[in-house]
Amino acid sequence: MEGLSAFVLAIILVGLGLWTLIERRNVIWKLLGLNVASGGAILFLVAVAYRPQARPALLGLGPGPTADPLPQALVLTAIVIHFATLALALAYVIFLTEHRHTQDIHKLEREEE
């Protein structure tokens, strides 16, 4: 069961992030929770790629077990997309704050009604 602690930490991070996502009323806090949950998912993928006593997946480093390169490639995609979508979401939060002067979703819902 080597490397179990990374899985535990990843699941705790995802739980904390999703909990913040549904409990907080401020939009920016919700985005921060989503950010933490995404970090947990990334940590989970990196922990899947781990092998005991492994070296990085590079040619010419000698024999022995290597880490799994496929989840690492997935993580690369996830990080970049995460950065771009978070920037887009924050830009819309700025837009919302300029036009509605609040970031509280309860107030926003009441204004919509």
Binding site: G15, P65, L70, V80, L88
Partner: protein
């Protein structure tokens, strides 16, 4: 209704926690040496990102460009004509930016150009170059840096980089892979695209606020 969401999250997390025991004992990694060498790379991650999963990377670059364009649309229409406060130029930031900027640019170019031979690649190199631009913006002020950099030309060259990357990737998906020359050029194009995108996000956010 919130208890439904809470119960769903707890159930989902316990499902994942129970499912992780199937990951032990760790399965052996399938041999990746031959396919990696066939794509002309030594780094297996680069061979996957720019070889076996090239479609994924091309569409990822498109998603990135779309998100950056969305940031421009959302913040460009705000139309704040508020006069910017003068930037306090501290000599410490200015000197450290002067000293650090050259090494940062060279490091990012090195990481992009040697990304298929070792740890690195286009995306980390673009992030490094973008953070170098952030350092320069902290020292000089965003608006002044944007004027000095001719930002309109940069944005056009970002779209040019994306078009070149899509054309290169599409051509090599149809014709087969020529080897490491494609990996180097694709990594350099991705670096350019990611760095300019990060700079555009920084500039529009700073302008919506006033200054860095």
């Amino acid at each position: 209704m919130k208890w439904v969401a809470r119960t769903a999250i707890l159930a989902l997390l316990s499902l994942v926690a129970v499912g992780t025991r199937h990951l032990f004992p760790r399965p052996d990694v399938a041999p990746w040496q031959e396919p990696t060498a066939q794509y002309g790379a030594e780094n297996a991650v680069a061979a996957i990102v720019l070889g076996a999963r090239l479609w994924d990377t091309l569409l990822e670059v498109l998603v990135y460009a779309l998100a950056i364009a969305g940031v421009k649309m959302a913040l460009g229409g705000l139309g704040r004509a508020r006069p910017l406060p003068p930037v306090p130029e501290t000599p410490l930031l200015r000197r450290s930016a002067d000293i650090l900027l050259g090494p940062i640019v060279i490091l990012s170019l090195y990481i992009a150009a040697s990304g298929h031979l070792g740890p690195g690649g286009g995306f980390p190199a673009g992030a490094i170059l973008g953070s170098g631009l952030l350092l320069l913006a902290l020292a000089k002020g965003v608006e002044r840096l944007s004027q000095e950099l001719h930002e309109a030309t940069w944005e056009r060259s970002e779209y040019g980089a994306i078009a070149a990357l899509l054309a290169l990737g599409g051509a090599f998906l149809c014709l087969g892979f020529p080897g490491s020359s494609f990996l180097v050029s694709a990594n350099l194009l991705i670096t350019m695209e990611v760095a300019i995108g990060a700079w555009v996000v920084l500039h529009y956010f700073a302008r919506a606020r006033g200054e860095v």
